[in-house]
């Protein structure tokens, strides 16, 4: 009497299998050879959002497909279909109308029936998409990153046909000081604001990317070049010129843009990027805040600059610089009261290189900081060999102020040489006061507080704002050589010299006229009431070794004073 037991066993087994099928975390469906549903668990219906009536055994597959809310993905459809009557397992993937992804593993059995397992893989696909997005985008700004941009550029160049394509290389101006002053977190915030403004500048079809740091780029596949790129560049420079709000403070940056255009400037991504980069550099040297197109010849210019920069570094390391000194004479006593230190570069091949040729590059590259440090140290050392009544004047660049090490460099030079601070005069131009007046004034006051004198150089050129003069107790105004050069012929220039001398007297500042070359020029500046003179009439700049003899021997002639002229006073403290 085993039969009932067998049936019971089968029933138990059936119930067990039923339960197993229902407990599977996957959807399960079985179709017979005629593609009619034989078996399905509840999860199957849930995953596909199927109505219960189609889940009854006997429902044709076509009927289920008809009510399935979604489509097979393109990638899945692209798989080759199985041979008819073949046996085996295939994977297929559907995307449902609600956005979910479902993967199906269909196993066809020898009798033509098939078993399918269904899984909701939405989370997996989202994670994968996220990883791909992460790999292609810059996490900070959400813009695409350099490798992706490079690939987009290559593709655009391949598909260009006859069209034109501009690449804008955007580099922020003054980002580093902001980043240093406000910290990296605020710097990052600023970059996000920049990205947002850039998004507002580009048009549909343009590709905007962050290449890294404070560098961005736009790919503009537009006809009508270079005008289209010029217009886009102007939108961008204008947008980034407006101040940014950072921690309640207004921050001004800006950008320089270099543009290269395919096919004119090359047809591969590397050369287009390189040339846009070169053009960006040109925009920087043309004063920033502008855009420049690549032009043939930029490579050459760039190479020459690189060579010059390398030679400057070498000169700095190997003692290639020298100082020459030009005496400054007091018109009242006739004696030499100061000397100005002037930088000379004795190039091994080119001979004497004019400071006008290498100083701008030294400032741009920041090399002026170590060069200026050397000048201060050497000038103070040299001055120790001269009479105590003689000052040494040293020119200091706006870049040295910006860099923030100037005070330390001055103290070092004074301490190492033993020169009293009162014998050192720092010559600054007005640009120092214009760029960052607060920092400049802070430095000047600290120097002045220790007894170092401060002279305003090149007065009368540039802005020559009176408010600049009033903002700090300069000990001296140096009247630019351009005034005295034609003073013999022009009454207006004589009037300016006289006015500045008067201004100096009223403000308690000494006045020195540079570039005095003839006796009549000397007479004019004397009559106009200037206190000191400097120029070829007395001495060209000479090596330090000649200074003691020059200082001892040089005398300015006593000037006849016309009645009514103000007395020639040198207001400098004795």
């Amino acid at each position: 009497m085993s039969e009932p037991t067998d049936i019971e066993t089968l029933r138990d087994q059936n119930a067990l299998l039923r339960e197993v099928v229902e407990r599977l975390p996957l959807g399960l469906s079985v179709f017979d050879a005629a593609d009619r549903l034989v078996l399905a668990n509840a999860r199957y219906g849930e995953i596909w959002s199927l109505p219960p009536q189609v889940l009854r055994p006997g429902t044709p597959f076509a009927e289920i497909i008809a009510v399935t809310p979604g489509q097979e993905t393109a990638a899945s459809r692209a798989q080759p279909p199985p041979r008819r009557g073949s046996v085996g397992t295939r994977r297929r993937e559907w995307r449902l109308d609600d956005g979910r992804h479902v993967e199906v593993q269909v196993s066809r059995r020898a009798d033509g029936s098939c078993v399918a397992l269904h899984e909701d893989i939405t989370a997996l696909r989202e994670a994968q998409a996220h990883v791909v997005h992460q790999a292609r985008h810059d996490a900070l700004t959400g813009l695409i990153n350099r490798p992706t941009f490079h690939a987009a550029l290559e593709q655009a160049l391949r598909e260009r046909d006859d069209g034109e394509l501009a690449l804008l290389f955007i580099d922020l101006d003054r980002f580093k000081p902001v980043n240093d002053a406000y910290g990296h977190a605020r710097g990052d915030e600023l970059l996000q604001h920049v990205a947002q403004r850039l998004r507002g500048c580009v048009r549909e079809g343009d590709v905007l990317a962050r290449l890294g740091g404070d560098e961005f780029a736009v790919l503009q596949p537009a006809a009508g070049q270079p005008e289209a790129a010029s217009a886009l560049s102007r939108r961008i420079t204008t947008a980034l010129r407006a101040p940014f709000e950072l921690q309640g403070q207004r921050v001004h940056i800006g950008c320089s843009i270099g543009v290269a255009v395919a096919p004119f400037d090359g047809d591969n991504a590397a050369s287009i990027l390189h040339r846009a980069d070169l053009a960006m550099f040109r925009a920087k040297t043309d004063g920033r805040g502008v855009h420049r197109f690549y032009e043939p010849g930029l490579e050459q210019t760039q190479r020459e600059r690189r060579d010059l920069e390398a030679e400057l570094r070498q000169a700095l390391a190997e003692g290639g610089f020298e100082l020459a000194y030009q005496p400054q004479l007091d018109l009242a006593s006739g004696a030499v009261t100061g000397v100005e230190a002037l930088l000379r570069w004795n190039h091994p091949v080119r001979g004497q290189v004019s400071p006008a040729e290498f100083l701008p590059l030294a400032e741009e590259t920041g090399l002026i900081v170590p060069i200026g440090r050397w000048v201060l140290a050497q000038a103070c050392r040299d001055a120790m060999a001269w009479p105590e009544a003689v000052r040494v004047a040293v020119n200091v660049s706006v870049v040295q102020f910006r860099h923030g090490q100037l005070m330390a460099d001055v103290w070092d030079a004074l301490a190492t040489s033993g020169l009293p601070p009162q014998r050192l005069e720092i010559e600054v131009t007005e640009s120092v006061m214009l760029e960052d007046p607060e920092q400049a004034l802070h430095t000047l006051r600290a120097l002045h507080g220790r007894g170092v004198r401060i002279a305003m150089d090149d007065f009368g050129t540039g802005y020559s704002s009176l408010s600049t003069l009033l903002s700090f107790p300069f000990s001296r105004l140096k009247i630019d050589r351009s005034f005295v050069g034609q003073a013999e012929q022009r009454a207006d220039l004589r009037a300016v010299i006289g006015a500045v001398a008067l201004l100096g007297r009223e403000l308690g500042m000494a006045t020195t006229v540079e570039g005095v070359e003839t006796p009549s020029q000397l007479q004019i500046v004397g009559q106009q009431g200037c206190g000191e003179v400097q120029g070829f009439l007395f001495s060209r700049p000479r090596p330090a070794a000649e200074m003691p003899a020059l200082i001892a021997g040089l005398r300015a002639p006593a000037l006849p004073r016309s009645p009514g002229e103000p007395p020639c006073s040198n207001a400098s403290p004795t």
């Binding site: 009508g224 070049q225 270079p226 005008e227 043309d286 004063g287 502008v290 197109f293 032009e295």
Partner: protein, 138 residues
């Protein structure tokens, strides 16, 4: 007070799209800083250019243009002082054959090189403006 010049010239042999691009990008690299504006129309191998700005800058630039080997047979049709620019904000607009609708040429009774008797200073300037999509007063 600005100065404005307008001229017609013929492209030198071998001067094509690349050379035209060179001319315009160089203009865009310099004109912003120099305060020069204007437009260049390239039609049937001829250049029609209007250039305007500070008299000193315009003269210096025109000397360079006159010496440029990329064109020949230069005819200066206009050189005069003016109160206002025709192309404010255009560092050098460029219009070539494909960008100009044929209807416009017909309306203006266009002829290659815009022969002087029919295209005097005013008409040449107005034609260049029209090609750039500015007020058409044919």
């Amino acid at each position: 007070m600005f100065e404005r010049i307008a001229y017609v010239s013929r492209a030198a042999p071998g001067v094509g799209p690349r050379e035209v691009f060179d001319i315009i990008r160089a203009a865009h690299n310099r004109n912003g800083a120099l305060g020069l504006t204007g437009a260049l129309v390239v039609l049937d191998g001829h250049f029609l250019q209007v250039l305007e700005g500070e008299p000193f800058r315009v003269d210096a630039c025109f000397r360079r243009i006159a010496a440029d080997r990329r064109h020949v047979a230069l005819e200066l049709r206009a050189r005069r002082l003016c109160e206002q620019r025709l192309f404010p904000g255009e560092w050098m607009a460029l219009r070539q054959q494909a960008q100009i609708e044929p209807g416009l040429l017909e309306r203006w009774g266009y002829e290659a090189g815009l022969p002087a008797p029919r295209f005097d200073a005013d008409r040449l300037e107005a034609f260049v403006q029209a090609c750039c999509g500015l007020a058409e007063t044919a």
